[in-house]
Amino acid sequence: MNPVLSLRGISKSFPGVKALSEVQLDLYAGQVTALIGENGAGKSTIVKVLTGVYQPDAGNITIDGAEVHFPTAQAASKAGVTAIHQETVLFDELTVAENIWLGHAPRTRFGLIDRRAMRDGALRLLEGIGATLNPDLRLRDLGIASKHLVAIARALSIDARVVIMDEPTAALSYKEIHELYELVEKLKAQGKAILFISHKFDEIFRIADRYTVFRDGQFVGQGDMGDVSENDLVQMMVGRSVDQIFPARHRNIGAPVLTVAGYSHPTEFADIGFTLHRGEILGFYGLVGAGRSEVMQSLFGITKPSKGATRIDDQVRVIRSTSEAIAAGIVYVPEDRGKQGAVKGLPIFQNVTLPSLSRTSRAGFLRLAEEFKLARDYTGRLDLRAASLDQDVGLLSGGNQQKVVIAKWLATQPRVIILDEPTKGIDIGSKAAVHEFMAELAAQGLAVIMVSSEIPEILGMSDRVIVMREGRIVDEVAGDRMTPETLVRAAAGLAVAA
């Protein structure tokens, strides 16, 4: 059988990064090909090359043996390639229907956009993926999961032979994920060639027929799913076998540091209460959208709670701003690194000292030598990889940016560190480093809160786990009860198993 679409020798560089280096990829009709690789392996980049968003530096794309070029996204969709991108690339001010049809809207006889056809088409597509959404709603009024469904409908609105899905399940709930699986089966039955990108092995083994592995922008191998084991794939991804991922913890839990009681917000969360101790890692689990980030950001002074109190070392503290939180010793490593974490455009050392300026300056006047010293100390401890400390943070890879953000907080010498999805978007190597570092911090007596949606990570790292659902704490799990089943049932609102 000949591939519908195949890529040969594709290279793509960005300033400072070689994202793809002579990679190849084949997609077959009626088959799902999984593309696997660590974060930053170049998966999304190949998607963008395939959809005309990026132009490759070298290499060629052939469809049915004929070479094609995609100078724009429109050219790619005309050639029958459509994609659900990793990021939701939609328009808040336009309606659902307009978002689905933008760029290829049905026309009336006069060449004007046919709004009725657009609306009907949108309804049909949404129905097809099991979504009940009003096509006239403006996108800004939708939640993140609904937006993702719109993105899927948009991809399907193009009558394509090749369908690409870049981590399509990341933002979806359990039920929606299953509907997506059904959809993939349907598309497969229609003979479409599907490229499926995911980090979740269970998912890959469930729906993929073939696999292709990338590592550091290079093609590593491909083959039939039936011929490989999970461990084989991991080995191909990282170039070595990974057996013991989580560090052994030396548990040494001390006195309570942070006590939260009756913490509430008008719309986001209600009645949050817990105690955090010295040397403890407290996990927060929940489905995406359960409101964990919101609680943490509120503890960090970003949003104001409507009710409730926090005590630090038995002292009631009202935290109204991030600077007050930092002064109280609470720091927060945000989930959205690019937007909330790193200040791209500023050099590494200035990022590190940003919250510590009062210590590195005298009477408001900066002392550069002190700044460099502080930055050197903490980035060194985290084993940062960078050319120099006055390099722009924006030029670093995601994992190294995360290290800068963590260094920034450690430099303030906090008592409580909140890590929100600390390993999201980080490759397995860096992930282990972050885990080890967390364990070390706890051992030094810091109190750590870790928000994570990854069950292995939560179970592997936490001393105790709090489960949230729809803005409320639904369970607290410790000791023997710390099993995947307990967490999943609690997070999904199912009856607690005995």
Partner: protein, 325 residues
């Protein structure tokens, strides 16, 4: 834990190399070129008194440009500055008519600027409105109030001691305005590049959300920046009023755009996050010398403004053209 850390060097380029490759280096070259051209083009150019007179062309605008640069670096803009001058000047006129003395006049001028800055700051930093729109509004509002107060009248007859700010000399050919300009250049250099406040300004301009997440009081910094442009406009109003010896609601019309031009020419990114006081200082000198040079050649003002328009676009476009080779 980790066996050996790689040592990351502090810098790859020495500060001197960096300075040589900077935007300011280009501006210095342009400034020298303009100076030399002018010296050849007009026999009257190289005369200390003439040069001293010429500085009045830009000192008041440059005072505001320093504060505006910080504001633009932080990602905001204030188009109401010229109107603040008009309102401050009018307020001083009212006070003078009521018999106030020079120190009181100065206080009132600066105080009015502060108040206007506070209004802008409250609307932008407090309510979170876009600064460009807010200040287009207050631009009409502030000057409008000046018109309501003054109408077709003018205030004249400022006390003799008040003349010092716009017509007085500190030492030999160094006018008060020139000295103030130089002093403010130093003050703003230190404020922007040598204090944690300045650092916060850069952080906000590059990523306000991340700055807030790093414990910077973003709203407060932005508010203070509006106060600063307000105060500098107030100070400029004192100088200008003193120099003109009178107040009309129409004074300083159109200055806001000249000031923004000066700031952008100085290498401040209009999108925020980058820029330097040295650049603005040099841009002020260049614009002053160009204006004066053309003036000596009796080139009509409007031709001069074409030149500045072209200069603005070319200076911004050139590096972009070169970069793409």
């Amino acid at each position: 834990m980790t066996p050996h850390h790689r040592i990351i060097p502090d810098r790859l380029q020495s500060p001197a190399t960096r300075a040589l490759r900077s935007w300011e280096a280009i501006l210095v070259a342009v400034a020298i070129a303009v100076f030399v051209t002018n010296s050849f083009a007009s026999p009257y150019f190289l005369n200390v008194w003439n040069l001293s007179d010429a500085t009045f062309n830009f000192t008041e605008k440059a005072l505001i440009a320093f504060a505006m640069a910080m504001l633009i670096i932080a990602g905001d803009i204030d188009l109401s500055v010229a109107s603040i001058i008009a309102l401050s000047s009018t307020a001083m006129g009212v006070a003078m008519a009521a018999g106030a003395d020079t120190p009181v006049l100065v206080l009132i001028g600066i105080g009015t600027g502060l108040l206007c800055g506070a209004i802008n700051g409250a609307l932008v930093a407090g309510l979170g409105l876009p600064s460009i729109v807010v200040t287009i509004g207050t631009m009409s509002l502030f000057r409008g109030v000046a018109y309501i107060i003054l109408g077709d009248k003018a205030f004249t007859g400022y006390p003799a001691s008040f003349k010092f700010f716009g017509q007085g000399y500190v030492w030999w050919v160094i006018s008060f305005e020139l000295a103030l300009f130089a002093a403010m250049a130093v003050v703003y250099y230190v404020l922007l590049h040598r204090t944690s406040f300045g650092r916060a300004v850069f952080a906000i301009g590059n990523n306000a959300t991340a700055a807030q997440f790093s414990g910077i009081r973003v709203a407060r910094v932005r508010f203070i920046l509006f106060l600063l442009t307000g105060v500098m406009s107030g100070i400029a109003a004192v100088c200008l009023t003193s120099r003109l010896g009178s107040t009309r609601p129409s004074i300083a019309t159109g200055w806001e755009l000249e000031i923004v031009t000066m700031v952008v020419l100085g290498g401040v990114s209009i999108l925020g996050g980058a820029g330097s006081v040295a650049g603005v200082f040099l841009a002020a000198l260049i614009m002053g010398m160009v204006t004066f040079g053309f003036g000596l050649l009796n080139v009509p003002g409007i031709v001069m403004s074409i030149f500045l328009g072209v200069l603005l676009i070319v200076v911004i476009a050139l590096p972009r053209l070169l970069r793409r080779g």
